[in-house]
Each structure stands twice: as C-alpha cells, then as structure tokens.
Amino acid sequence: MMKSEKVARWAHWQERIVVVLLFVSALVSVITTLAIAISLGVEAIGFFREVPLIRFLTEREWTPLFAIKKFGILPLVCGTFLVAGIAMIIAIPFGIFIATYLAEYASERTRRLLKPVIEVLAGIPSVLYGYFALLFVTPLLQKFIPSLSGFNALSPGIVLAFMVLPTIASLSEDIIYAVPQSIREASLALGATKLQTVFRAVLPAAASGIIAACLLGFSRAIGETMLVTIAAGQQPNLTLNPLEPVQTMTAYIVQVSLGDVPHGSLEYQTIFAVGLSLFLITLVFNLIGLFLRERFIRTFQRLG
C-alpha cells in the first residue's frame, strides 16, 4: 500500500514538472516575438536618437556608409517594392491560374503529380535563385534589352516570382479545394455551366482566402534576401525603372553584415532601423493575410 502510494505521488510530481516544462517550450514562441521586438527596438531607438524619424522617412538618399551621410529609407523601400512588385505581377496570375486548374479541372492523379513538382520550387535555396538570375536571366534579357545593366530589378523580380509562386499557388489551391461541395452543386443545379460555376460561385467564395495567399506571398517576396542581394545590386536608388540597379532593405542588411562595421556605431544601428521597418511592413501584410484566411475558414465552417 505504502509503495503504490509512493509511486502515485512520484507520478503526480513528474506530471507537474513535465507540464511546466512543456508550458515553457510553448512559451518560447511568445518569447521569440518579444525578443525580436526588443532586440530590433533597442538598437533602433539608439539610431533614432541620432537621426530624427522625420529625416528617416522623408530624405531621398540613403548613404550611411559614405562621408556625407544621408538617412532616407525611401530608396531602399522603393527598391524592395519594385522587385517584389515585378514578382507579384507574374506570380499572382500564374498562381491563381494554376490553383484554379488544379483544384477544379485537373484529375486527382494530375493534381497529386503536379502539386509536389510546383512545391519543389519552394525548396530551392535562394542563393541558387540568385545564381540563376545573375548568370542566366540577366544575360538572356540583355540580348533583348541592351540598356539593361548587369545588376537590375527586372531579372531578380522575374526569378522571385517563381520562388513565391508555390506559396500563392499551393495556399490558393488548398482554399479553392476547401470550398464546400454544396456551393458547386447549388450552382450546377440552377443550370450554370462548369465555367460559370468555377468563376462566379467557387472563386468568389474563395476570394478572401486567395487574397490572403497573395498577401503572404507578397510578404515573402519583400523579405527575400540572397536572391536580390546577388542579382539586384548594392546601390540605393530611388527609381521605378526596372532596368537600373537597386538595393533592397534586405540587401542593405547583408551588405553591412559582411563588412566590418564596429558594434555600437551608428552604421551598425542602421541595420536594426532598416530591419525594424522591414519587420513592421511584413507584419502588416501577414496579419491582414491571417485575418482573411481565418474569415474564410469561419465562413465555411458554418456552411460545411
């Protein structure tokens, strides 16, 4: 009797310790978010003490590593959005076409065969995409556009499209596939054709989820680093011309990280100020995307 009581007590204590340990591991994710906010924030505050926020947001030049220092983030933001924008012009229609085809038209066999092939694109390391953009796509484009410089926004933009395509296509396909069958049946029962059903019933029902997939893809494009560092160049350039070299926010962080900028200097702090801006931009896109996806799921839970 005593012994079994001991065993039970030990099991009880073990249980408590384990639950605490498991709880702590779940807490790590929350701590991570806090740590990101604090570690970016601390250095960024140091930066904004030296450089007022208004200069950071309104100056039109970014030259923190030069003798005459200018701290306008606009050229970096512009470069980032230019490359990501080019990528989305290709990736959104491609992604939606592929997703609609796979979810609504392809046979189950084709779908199972093609979806993993497209997802392979997401598994390719970004340095390889950069290699491909710099040494294959840029020389190829230069044959048609002689004024294209060796580093430019166009070539990494095009390659980036195929890098984020799996995100958009795969998430959209999941969403379209998840639209309840009753919606298709209702539409067909009313005499609509397959095409009408797909484009006027299914896709509108899936719209919020598809927009969410595009936003998540866009946020991934904005945060992509090695590809744009390799192929877009290292010149902060306030331009919308895709033929010129540009520097993205991520490429600037890499440039400073590779050089030997002393810890604690203003140049060192700039990468945290840029990182914080990047973090906030992607955060907004991610949260809108997550909200829309949640809404899609909730709408159809009621119907389903």
Partner: protein, 298 residues
C-alpha cells in the same frame, strides 16, 4: 410568331454556349501554358546549375579549404560547417518544438493564452529569415556572448524553424485517434504517461517528417547566418560549438559575387552539393512518411 422568337432565343443561347466553350478552352490553354512555363523554369535552373558545376565536383573540391585560386578552392569547411550547424539546430529545435506541440495539443485548455500562442506561431512563420538573423546577432551573439559561433548560428536557425516544427508536430499528434488516449487513461495511466508511452510513439514519424523538412529549409537559407556574422572565408574546421564557421550557401554566395567565371563554377558545384543534401533529407522525410504512415480503422 412565337415559334420564331423561341428559335431566335435558342440560337442566341447556343451562341452563348459556344462562346463559353471557347472561353473555357482558352482558360485551360492558359493554365497549361503557365504550368509548362513554371516547370521549364525549374528544369532550366537545374540544367544551368549542372552544366556549370557538375564537372567541378571531385575529391579535391570536397576536401580543400577555400583559396584565392579558384582551381585549388574547395568546400571542406563549408560542408562540415553545414553538417555541424544542422545537427546542433536539430538538437535545440526538436525538443522545444515537440514540447510546445504536446503542450498545445494534449495539455492546454482552449483559452486566450493558447489562442495568443497559436496566432503568434502563425505570425512567426511569416517573418523574413533575415529578421531572425538580426535577432540572433543581438540576442545570441551580443547579449549571450556566444560570439560569431556555430552555437549562435544553430540557436538562430532553431528559433527560425520552430514554427514549422510545432505546426507539423501538432498535426501528427492530432492524427492519433482518441481511442488510444482513452484506452490508456481508462487503465489508470496519468496524462503524461499516456502521451509519453502511447500517443508520442505513434506520432513520431509525422514529427520527424515535419522536422526534417523544416531543417532542410533552414540549412538552405544563408541570410540569417550572414547577419550573425558567419564568415565567408574559413580555412579551418570548427572544433567546438564556440568556433567561427561557414556553411555551403554562404560559401556559394561568396563565389557568385566574385567577377571571375571560374569562381562561378565553384559556386555551382557547391550548390549542387547543397541540393544533393536537401534531396537526401527530403527523400528521407518522404520515406518515413510512407513507411510509417498509419491507417487507423476505428
């Protein structure tokens, strides 16, 4: 008169239908064209890579340190660094990720805290890799004084892979049918005993599959390690977790960004080795999934 109108309407309907069939065909053609373009891009990337780099891979390349002369350079320190980093990352990320998944799936009651953690994990999965690099630079390299070491790199990559591991592990745990839990609990096992002895063993293949996929994404990513200060020219092997290091994607990046084409071939060769490693990891994951995937009959 009525018949005539009906006929006109009928032909109008038939024309509409005809037009629609064309629109549908056009859509299907577009869909196939985009699919073919996408797959050809994939094949072109691989073709270009192998054409440039395959002949460069030999024993000398795998066992030499980087060098200023491209024909003498190799990826010894890079692939050893990659393996080292990967092992350490797995050792840190796996227990934390599985622990978090078990807590959320088996122990936590659904309240504002678990909802917060879930939202937080979804959001963390969308944060750019380079931001994790800045986090690692500030927290692990500076505050914890790990320096620009393998350990700091592994901690950074582990934190970055956690969301994926947690999501995959939760799915694996959820796939274990409730009857297993009920049977164990009915026999007097405590909750933790049930999870440890019955639920977790059944979920392990799924957990491993997800973890391997998360790790294979992490080791292909150069950005966070560049940010924490992994070196691009390392002529020695790391002896302890506190030594400086380099990894394959960083070595490849270094070679791509040089002007001489000979270095580009080296970069291609290093990327082929990296791809081979990723392929190995992914096929292991797929093998595990197919081999141990349980079909429950309840």
């Amino acid at each position: 008169m009525e018949i005539a109108t009906a006929k006109v309407e009928l032909t109008a309907a038939a024309q509409r239908r005809k037009r629609e069939i064309w629109v549908e065909r056009l859509f299907l053609v577009f869909a196939w064209v985009t699919l073919i373009i996408t797959i050809s891009v994939l094949l072109t990337i691989l073709g270009k890579l192998f054409a440039d780099g395959l002949t460069r891979i030999d024993l000398q390349f795998l066992t030499s340190f980087p060098s200023r002369k491209p024909e003498m350079a190799g990826i010894f320190s890079a692939w050893v660094g990659t393996f080292y980093t990967m092992a350490l990352t797995a050792a840190i990320a796996l227990p934390l990720g599985v622990g978090a998944a078990i807590y959320l799936e088996e122990f936590a009651s659904r309240n504002w805290f678990t909802r917060l953690v879930e939202l937080n994990i979804s959001n963390l999965a969308g944060i750019p890799a380079i931001i994790y690099g800045l986090l690692g630079l500030q927290v692990f390299v500076r505050w914890f004084k790990m320096g620009e070491s393998v350990l700091a790199g592994a901690c950074t990559l582990a934190i970055m892979s956690l969301p994926v591991i947690i999501v995959a592990s939760r799915e694996a745990l959820r796939a274990v049918p409730n009857s297993i839990r009920e049977a164990a609990l009915a026999l007097g096992a405590t909750k933790w005993q049930t999870v440890r002895d019955h639920v977790l063993p059944l979920a392990i293949p799924g957990i491993l599959t997800g973890t391997i996929l998360a790790l294979s994404r992490a080791i292909g990513e150069a950005a966070p390690l560049v940010t924490i200060g992994a070196l691009t020219f390392v002529a020695f092997l790391p002896k302890s977790p506190f030594d400086p290091f380099t990894v394959l994607p960083i070595q490849a990046y270094n070679w791509v960004s040089r002007p001489q084409p000979e270095f580009h071939y080296n970069a291609a060769a290093a990327l082929i080795v990296l791809l081979a490693l990723l392929l190995l990891m992914n096929s292991t994951a797929i093998y595990l999934r197919n081999r141990y995937q349980q079909r429950w009959r309840i």
